[in-house]
């Protein structure tokens, strides 16, 4: 489950796409390791690589917001040894 910060909830351009992904995630897990492209409440496709997913996203959505998300049962955490974010970021 993605945890959005308060500010991101207020002005998250990908809020609809992230909610759509969460709704579809269980069904998408048969494609684990691949990349989903979500536009609004629609799944545009599942692709083997980030590059392919990004290309399709821009081709189909142009400059409208869309989400590229790797399909993973457990959301991985990216670690940074520098204190580059606070718990309540911008």
């Amino acid at each position: 489950m993605l945890l959005l910060t308060e500010n991101e909830v207020m002005s998250n351009p990908l809020a609809t796409e992230l909610a759509t992904f969460e709704k579809m995630k269980e069904d998408l897990l048969c494609h684990e390791g691949k990349y989903a492209v979500i536009f609004g409440e629609d799944l545009l496709g599942v692709y083997d690589t980030y590059e392919d997913a990004l290309k399709i996203g821009y081709e189909k959505c142009k400059l409208e917001p869309f989400l590229v998300k790797k399909i993973q049962a457990v959301e991985p955490i990216n670690y940074f040894s520098r204190s580059i974010f606070s718990s309540c970021p911008t």
């Binding site: 990908l14 990004l54 590229v68 998300k69 606070s86 911008t90």
Partner: protein, 146 residues
């Protein structure tokens, strides 16, 4: 294998300049919409083996007209026990070399405020995993081969 040998900055550490631009698909989308493609920017990155992925100073987001196309969870010493969500942006990076530059055409990165640190970003292990890094502390130099 092309490489750069660079003095270690006495305060900031191992700094390398990279050229940051739009990912190819985003540049094409802007062109198709009749919108000018922002020029690439030279950015000072700190090599950071403690960073899972590459991070860009958020002041560079606006001039490149970047918009988020993803979101990941991150944890740092100040986020406490709970990771926080951060937007991902897609960019292109170039490690310049006079004979053989290395391009990373579609790279997902996150952004934060580095203004106080006088750097433009962190070059994380997503890129370093494709390079050979030799940190010569006694020699005050590092070498990055790619």
């Amino acid at each position: 294998m092309p490489h750069l040998t660079i003095p270690i900055h006495p305060v900031q550490g191992p700094i390398v300049e990279l050229i940051v631009g739009l990912s190819a698909p985003r540049a094409q989308a802007l062109k198709a919409a009749g919108t000018a493609v922002p020029p690439s920017i030279t950015v000072k990155f700190l090599l950071d083996t403690g960073a899972s992925s590459t991070v860009l100073d958020e002041t560079i987001i606006a001039p490149l007209k970047l918009v988020p196309t993803g979101q990941i969870m991150v944890n740092t010493p100040t986020t406490g026990g709970a990771p926080v969500a951060r937007f991902q942006y897609d960019i292109a990076l170039m490690l310049y070399h006079v004979d053989n530059s290395r391009f990373f055409q579609n790279l997902p990165i996150i952004a934060t405020d580095f203004s106080a640190q006088k750097i433009g970003g962190l070059l994380g292990r997503d890129i370093l995993s494709k390079c050979l890094l030799v940190y010569n502390g006694p020699g005050d130099r590092f070498a990055l081969a790619f």
